[in-house]
Each structure stands twice: as C-alpha cells, then as structure tokens.
Symmetry: C2
Subunit: 116 residues, 2 copies
C-alpha cells in the first residue's frame, strides 16, 4: 500500500473512533514522540504506545475529538486534531489544537510525532 | 533562538504578509519539497526557493491565504494553510488546505516540506 492508502485507512479508522483498526496499521516497533519533556516524551514499541493511549483516554474526559486530513508527502502524512477535553487531574476543560506527523515504512506506521 | 522562537517569528511574518521578513529566517541552503512530482518537486538554495515563491504568486490570483499555528516538536514546526486561489492558467478557482512542515538547524529554517 502507498503512504496515501495507509494515511486514508488510518484516518478513516480514527474518524470512526475505531482505534483498534488504526493500531493494526502500526509497525510493532512504532515510536511515539511528544513535544514536551516527561515520562511520555518517547515511547517505543506497540505495547508502550498502546499503553500511552489507554492512559490518555482513562485520564481525560473527551468532549470533542476531531481529525482532519490526511495531508501526504513522500513517506509521511499529517493530521490535524481539534480536541476539547477535561484532564481528570486538573478538572480544567481545555481546547487543544495539534498536528500529528506519521512516518510510514514497509507499509506500516513506524513513527507518530505530535506538534503543538 | 529556540525552534519555538523561530516558528513564532516566521508565522507572525507570514500572517502579516511580510514574506521578506519570513525569508530572513531561511538558511541560505534551504530546501523546499513538494508532494507532487514535477519541476518544483525539490528546490535547493535561497535563490531557487525564492524563485518558486515568486512564480507561485505571479501565477495565482489569491482570494484568501490563512496560516494557523505554529505547532512545535523538537527541531520542527508545522503550519496549517487555508487558501482560496485561482491558478491563472486554468482559471478554475479552488480551495486548498495543506500542512507546511519546517525543520530548523542552527537558528535557521533548513527545510520546508508541504503535505497535502
């Protein structure tokens, strides 16, 4: 599959809330990179990255989660995320707007990187 | 300057339509990469990339050009562009939505890459 094909399947799955289907497009060696320092700055491997997602969903009340795109160039694609969430720890509702940048190799997503 | 500082200055200049100021943040060796094959797929060096911009502005009637961001991670930042343009060759007005991904090294933008 081309990067554009992977990008479309991944985006369709996210937009439909089918996160398990999206994760099927990950490489087992996927790396997930946040912009901020901290324990989740860089997670390596399917189990760690899946765990990061589980943590995020468990610790945020999600009022809105919208993905736009994909935008493709070469072996990369980007998505725009608009979120309206309340972190359970702070209780402070916030609107977040970010870009997810994905790198594809061998038909699988090997890296996700979040810019904000 | 940090990537975030460069990103903010560059974005402020674009939003104000001050393209000369934005180009001051380029490295002389800047590389500009489009998603589509063709003569402008990869332009190298300040003169070539500036020429590409000149060509684009000369060959499009611009009804709207909006930049949102920046979104930062490490040595990269992204911008979202929303454009409403009429290419003079086709005369067909179109709405375009894309992501610009910029890489900073030594306090200068060394690469711009457009995803769409």
């Amino acid at each position: 599959m081309s990067t554009a094909d992977i990008a479309k399947q991944f985006t369709d799955a996210l937009k439909a809330g089918k996160f398990d289907d999206a994760e099927k497009l990950w490489s087992d060696d996927i790396v997930s990179i946040e912009a901020m320092d901290g324990p989740m700055k860089e997670m390596r491997g399917r189990a760690a990255v899946h765990g990061k997602g589980e943590w995020w969903f468990a610790n945020h009340e999600i009022h809105k989660f919208e993905a736009a795109g994909p935008y493709v160039n070469g072996d990369q694609f980007a998505l725009r995320f608009s979120m309206d969430v309340t972190p359970k720890e702070s209780g402070k509702r916030m609107q977040m707007d970010e870009v997810g940048l994905y790198t594809v190799r061998g038909g699988k997503i090997v890296e996700e990187r979040f810019l904000y």
